[in-house]
Structures are given as C-alpha cells and as structure tokens.
C-alpha cells in the first residue's frame, strides 16, 4: 500500500453534528495519514464521487441520526457498483449494538462508538492496511467475515 494512506471522513444524512468526525479526522492526521473531510449532509452519491476523485483507501462514515441502517449499506452498494470493492469502510457515531452484525455483513470493517480512543482507530487502520498488503480480503465489496471489533 502507499506510504500515504488517504482516508475520507464523511457525514451522510441530515444530522448536523460533526465534532466527533472532526476529532477522528484530526487523530488520523496526527497518525500520519492524509485525511479528507467532506463536511455535513452529503448524499451517498456525493460521497462515492468523493471516494473516486480522491483515490481513497479508507472511508469513515459518521452517523448520529439513526439512519445508518439505510445510508451505510446504500453507500457500500454504490461503491461496489462503481468498481470500488477495495475501499475499506468503517463507521462511527451512535450505532446500537443490535444494528452492528448487519452492517458488518454488508462490508463495514469496524464500528466505533463514543469512548473510542485514537489509538484504537489507528490500530484498526494499521491492521486493515496489513491485510491489504498481504492480499487478504478487507475492502467493502470483498468477500470476508473479518471485522475489527
């Protein structure tokens, strides 16, 4: 994988709270990655276009509105349609435990809630990158049950 990982932090849906997304963006920058933050209220189509244009290795989706069960699978579906199977998707925000297995099965590789430390995030990014280097499936459209947490 490249020396510089490119990570997009995106806010799909209608909630207007991005303190968490900004903190995550900052933490990943401090871990040495190139982080692109999309700003609030992006549609799935806009997020996918951003992933394509920016040649992202990772896509982090922050949702606090409760629409994660719809929006996150929708984005992954569009990514796969656009030939972006290899992009590694993770999620954060308020995502209840009961919703997580379904999201993992759709291709999300980690879900971070409140209280996550920046070290945990970095560890996830490192292990997922390691899988990529070893040619193990890890992208959102690649066939694997692997997920970080």
């Amino acid at each position: 994988m490249d020396e510089h990982l490119r990570i997009i932090i995106a806010k799909p849906g209608l909630d207007g709270h991005d303190r968490g997304a900004k903190v995550v963006a900052r933490a990943l920058r401090d871990a040495g990655h190139e982080v692109i933050y999309t700003g609030l209220r992006r549609t799935p189509e806009e997020i996918v276009r951003t992933v394509i244009d920016e040649d992202a290795d990772f896509l982090g989706l922050s949702s606090l509105s409760g629409a994660h069960n719809f929006l996150i699978p929708k984005i992954i579906e569009l990514l796969v349609e656009s030939d972006c199977n290899d992009v590694i998707v993770f999620a954060g925000g308020i995502i209840p435990e009961k919703d997580r297995p379904n999201l993992f099965s759709k291709g999300v590789r980690a879900i971070f809630g409140p209280g996550t430390s920046s070290i945990q995030m970095s560890e996830f990014v490192d292990s997922a990158s390691k899988r990529r280097v070893e040619s193990l499936p890890v992208g959102c459209g690649e066939d694997t049950d692997w997920h970080w947490n």
Binding site: D2, E3, H4, R6, A25, R26, L28, R29, D30, A31, G32, H33, E34, V35, I36, Y37, T38, G39, R42, E46, I47, R49, T50, I52, D53, E54, D55, S82, D83, C84
Partner: protein, 289 residues
Amino acid sequence: MDFTKLKQGDRRALSKTISLVENGELNSADISNIFSDIELAEVWAITGSPGVGKSCICEHIIDNWLNSNQKIAVLAVDPSSPLSGGALLGDRIRINNSDNSDNLYFRSLATRGQSGAIPSNIIDIVHLLSALKFEKILIETVGAGQAEVRVAAVSKFLLLVEAPDSGDMLQAEKAGLMELADIILVNKSDLERANEKEEQLKLALKLSEHEIPPVLMVSAKEKTGFEELFVEMMKMPQKSRSQSLKSRISLSYAWESLLWKHKDIDTIIEKLDSKDITLDEALNHLKGG
C-alpha cells in the same frame, strides 16, 4: 501498466494515475508517451493569506464554469504536518459544489513535506489533466506567504485574493505575488474597510513599473462583484502579463522539483542533520547525481 481505462476517461483510473504521479512513480515524460498530442489547459491559480476567502471564491468560479458546460478540474492544496507527515484536507467543506457534477473533477492534494505552497508534482498532474482534455484547471493553494511566488509557475493566470485588514499597506507592497497577479480581488467587500484596502492596493500598484492588473471588489458571502470578475477572466487568455518573470520562476520551480525527486535526497538530509557533510558538499553531490 494498462492505461486503456484512463484514456477512455474513467474517473477512477484518473484518480489512481494522479496517485502514481503524487508518489513520484509517473512524470510528465511518461504521460507524453501515453498521450500523443497534449494541449495545455487554461490553468488558473488562486492564492492569498489564510482566511481571505479563497475557497468561497472558488465555489463561485466553479459554478460559473459548470454553467457553461465545461470540463473542469480543481486541485485543492493543503499543507502536510511537518511532524506526522499527515494532512487534513478540508477544502471540500467550504467548496460545496465539489462533489455534485460529472463535469467537475475535484482532487485534494497535500504538500507532502516540500517547502512552499504547492507540491512539486503538481506540474505533472496538470500535464495529465490537460492530456485528458480538461478545459479549465483551478489550483487553490495553501495561504501562500509573501515569498511563495511559485504558484505562478504552474498556472497561466494568477488570482490574488486580499481582504480588509489582512495586513497593513507595507505588507501589500512587499508581497512579491502582487507583481505576478493577473487579477487582484478584494473579498469581503461588504465589510466597512474594504474600500480602504482597495485604495491601498491601487496606490501600491501605481508605484510599480509594471503594467497594473485589475483590482476588483467582490463579496463571496453576498455573491456580489462576480460578473465583473468573470468578464475579466474571459478577457485574460488574450493578454498575459509579467511573462519573463513567470518563466524565471517556472525554471527555478522545475529546478527545485528535480531536487526533491533526487534519489539520495533523504540520506543527504540525514547527513546534513547529523553534520556529517557541509551544505556545499551536499550541493555538489546533488549537482553531480
């Protein structure tokens, strides 16, 4: 490498290829080998101190170009952290139309440790975009300091953005960029002191021996003054100012790009850090290799 998809105009292939250029694995010469005839796109750079409103002005320029159905590319540059090597690329937050048109390709670039307002491979990226028949390219630079005139080197036209209270009159005069700007914008014209700024700039320019660029008042917030800007921008391809100065800067910029691409650059910097070699020895080595 297979460049079939790239040649067909595939967006993802373009992004992947830009990454190759960014990582120094592909340069202008390689691109010229892939594409036969390359005509340089109309390249605009927009620069100015942090906070003067470059991104918001970009948004209006992009809208104007999109409305006339042109294929455009935007390269938004932000600094890499000198400590971690990471970067926070946030121009998409302020440029709201960055992701909603197929006619617009928008790419954020980090400076990746090179000094100055633009990464050294940006010339090659511009070359690639030109090969793919992008008609207009807009480069938004890091809020360039007064001596950072290299933005002029890669662009054909330079927009310099000023704002009321962004430094006193003397600072305006000593800024090298003023002599290279094709158009100077005073943003935030809705603020009280904007007229004063305009007067100061015009006065400073009058003292210069060069031809004077237009100074325009705009307000990105109120969206006023942009019609005049677009008219000036349309006129620009017929005239270009300060050409020899630009050529000189282009040359020194290209020279510096070579320096950063030198295979031994990292070892030389290490040796300089540990004082194993002198600056002269380092220079000689770089010139020899």
